[in-house]
């Protein structure tokens, strides 16, 4: 097993499309890292760069201590599970799973032992002689997993492996993949657009949007302290409510104007979130809070959403030019289900809207 690290990694396709920019991330040895984001956010590109299936146009990717830019996939010691499984249709399940070992000239007894072990873990023992075409979707998915785990690779890469399964099976396989990953203790990068998968499976979650890393943290932290509006609205089910408000300096502290009411922010809240100050009304704040980035309360990484999504839950539709951006931004973080006690501000805001 090994760690994987991205240092300033970027990807520009031949036609000039930028898929990923300035991507910095360390995946620890044995960690289950989930890349999540809407489609086209660059998560699959990032994964494929680790696999060596996509040229790295900027920066460096390391697996363990080794820089792997330019290294052929077969020399990277990785295994990958594809979205469409990419099984070899003309080979039996056994040969599919054994293929990589055979290519690497593993002794036949060893191949047999490992394939049977993988089949046992995945419940495929009775299917070994069948061809992929004769299997159900779930079984094919398992074969794809089997093909990865027999290898004992340094890193597992999974590209939306569950997206072709029906809902029930998906839940089941979700648990199973998480279990297998724990059992093998393998460093895993898992790409998904499904935030439920991201929240339930990963040790840590990396949220991407338009080729920019938004936040990396444990699922709980991402949920509790989203770095910006985008993360806040993307993560969590049901969605977080977002409400517009205006933050201003008033008296000896900050005052939040929301829904025609003034709420004084408790000093300890302001102290806990030093970024907040910058967003209080005034010239300085306006500059800070330009169109780029809205580091929210307790930002883990100040990489902003380029254009904030519209407020949800019946919030005012699009008064973009009406108030100073800066003032609006900070207020936009919205209400949450009122069960988290350490966020009194939001709860109050949430109620204030109604």
């Amino acid at each position: 097993m090994a760690s994987v690290s991205f240092a300033g990694v970027g990807k520009v396709y031949r036609d000039g499309t930028r898929a990923l920019s300035d991507f910095d991330l360390d995946v620890a040895d044995g960690e289950f890292m989930v890349f999540v984001g809407p489609s086209g956010c660059g998560k699959t590109t990032a994964l494929r760069m680790v696999a060596g299936l996509e040229d790295i146009t900027e920066g460096e990717v390391r697996i363990g201590e080794r820089v792997v830019n330019g290294l052929h996939p077969r020399h990277r010691d990785i295994a990958m599970v594809f979205q469409n499984y990419a099984l070899y249709p003309h080979m039996s399940v056994y040969r599919n799973i054994a293929f990589a070992l055979k290519v690497r000239k593993t002794p036949p007894e060893e191949i047999k032992r490992r394939v049977e072990e993988a089949a046992r873990i995945l419940g495929l023992t009775t299917e070994l002689k069948r061809k992929p075409g004769q299997l159900s979707g779930g079984q094919r998915q398992r074969v794809a997993m089997g093909r990865a785990i027999v290898r004992h690779p340094q890193v597992f890469l999974m590209d939306e492996p569950l997206s072709n399964l029906d809902a029930k099976l998906r839940v089941q396989m979700r648990a199973e993949i998480a279990r297998i990953q724990r059992e093998l203790g393998a460093t895993t990068i898992y790409v998904t657009h499904d935030q439920v998968e991201a929240m339930t499976m990963g040790d840590r979650v990396a949220v991407l949007r338009k080729g920019q890393l938004q936040q990396v943290d444990s699922p709980q932290e991402v949920y509790d302290r989203p770095a910006n509006l985008f993360v806040a609205s993307f993560i969590g089910s049901p969605e977080m409510n977002l409400v517009e408000a205006r933050l201003e300096r008033g008296g000896d502290g900050l005052v939040c104007h929301v829904a025609g009411r003034e709420l004084r922010l408790p000093p300890e809240l302001v102290h806990a979130r030093p970024g907040l100050e910058a967003y209080a009304g005034g010239e300085h704040a306006r500059r800070q809070g330009g169109d780029d980035g809205a580091p929210g309360v307790g930002a883990a990484r100040p990489r902003g959403a380029r254009s904030p999504p519209r407020p949800h839950a019946g919030g005012p539709g699009g008064p973009r030019g009406r108030r100073p951006l800066a003032g609006r931004r900070s207020g936009e973080r919205g209400a949450r289900p009122p069960h988290r006690r350490h966020r009194p501000l939001r709860n109050r805001l949430g109620r204030a809207r109604r």
């Binding site: 060596g52 299936l53 990785i78 990958m80 070899y88 990589a100 290519v103 093909r147 290898r151």
Partner: protein
């Protein structure tokens, strides 16, 4: 009668007519090859068969005209040309389908246009070139131009077949430890087999029937391919023996017919491959 049934009957009638149009000339040829020289002009031909005449006709083709030499020539030329065209064309098709290189898009889409050129348009330049390199009247002199004719077709067909195979299979194989050439050899060739057979069939049929280039390049009877040998029947001084010509025609068709029957199921699968998936 319901409309559905009516449509069905109608479609059968149309199919039968089409089948007759396709088959009748061939059946007529078969019938002519069993006649004596005198009975040949009888219309409609009688269905009286005389075993001795049949034997005489076919024996003449086989023994006096050296039919087996021509078959041998045709098989060698067709086989070698097709094989080389496949060996070159299949990897080329793979490259056009998967890799990006300068001109890969343009060449991939225009490559078939080389095939639009009818042999008659290029037969004379080809003859001059073959003469220049001293390959007249021999197998290589035929094989080279035939490869040139077949290759674009093979490449074009194979591009289509490789495009049908998901790229992820290549990628999985590379992650599993293969380099590109071995991905093609070990994983994709078995998957592309129907395509290879389709390409081979079109190549074989074209080369087997090709006449003009062969006529220019080959001079001695030892090297005649079947179409040239068959046509030589028509140019000798003696009156044309239509019954012998018909028997030759039958012999010309038999090898290609056998080949087609063997690969038929792959051809059908191959032709519909794009449609069904």
């Amino acid at each position: 009668m319901t409309a559905h049934r009516f449509g069905r009957v109608l479609s059968y009638i149309v199919l039968i007519v089409i089948g007759l149009v396709g088959l009748l000339p061939f059946l007529y040829l078969l019938l002519l090859s069993t006649k004596s020289r005198l009975d040949i002009l009888e219309v409609p031909p009688s269905l009286d068969f005389d075993w001795a005449t049949i034997k005489a006709n076919y024996a003449e083709v086989i023994h006096e005209d050296g039919y087996f030499t021509f078959v041998k020539n045709s098989v060698i030329v067709t086989g070698v040309s097709t094989l080389i065209a496949l060996v070159l064309g299949v990897p080329a098709g793979y490259a056009f389908s998967r890799l990006r290189f300068r001109g890969s898009d343009t060449w991939g889409s225009t490559i078939l246009s080389f095939r639009f050129m009818p042999p008659v348009a290029v037969a004379i330049p080809i003859y001059l070139m073959i003469r220049y390199v001293g390959l007249l009247d021999g197998y290589p002199g035929l094989i080279l131009p035939y490869i040139a004719f077949t290759l674009p077709l093979v490449v074009w067909i194979m591009i289509g077949f490789f495009d049908e195979i998901p790229r992820e299979i290549d990628e999985a194989a590379m992650v599993d430890g293969l380099t590109r050439p071995f991905v093609l050899l070990k994983v994709l060739l078995p998957l592309a087999r129907p395509g290879i057979l389709v390409a081979a069939t079109f190549g074989v049929i074209f080369i087997w029937n090709e006449f003009l280039v062969g006529l220019y390049v080959i001079n001695s009877q030892d090297h005649y391919t079947i179409p040239i040998a068959a046509s030589s029947l028509l140019t000798v001084e003696s009156p044309i023996d239509w019954n012998i010509a018909a028997a030759t025609g039958i012999f010309t068709v038999i090898p290609i017919l056998l080949f087609s029957i063997v690969v038929q199921r792959y051809i059908v699968r191959g032709i519909t491959a794009g449609a069904v998936r």
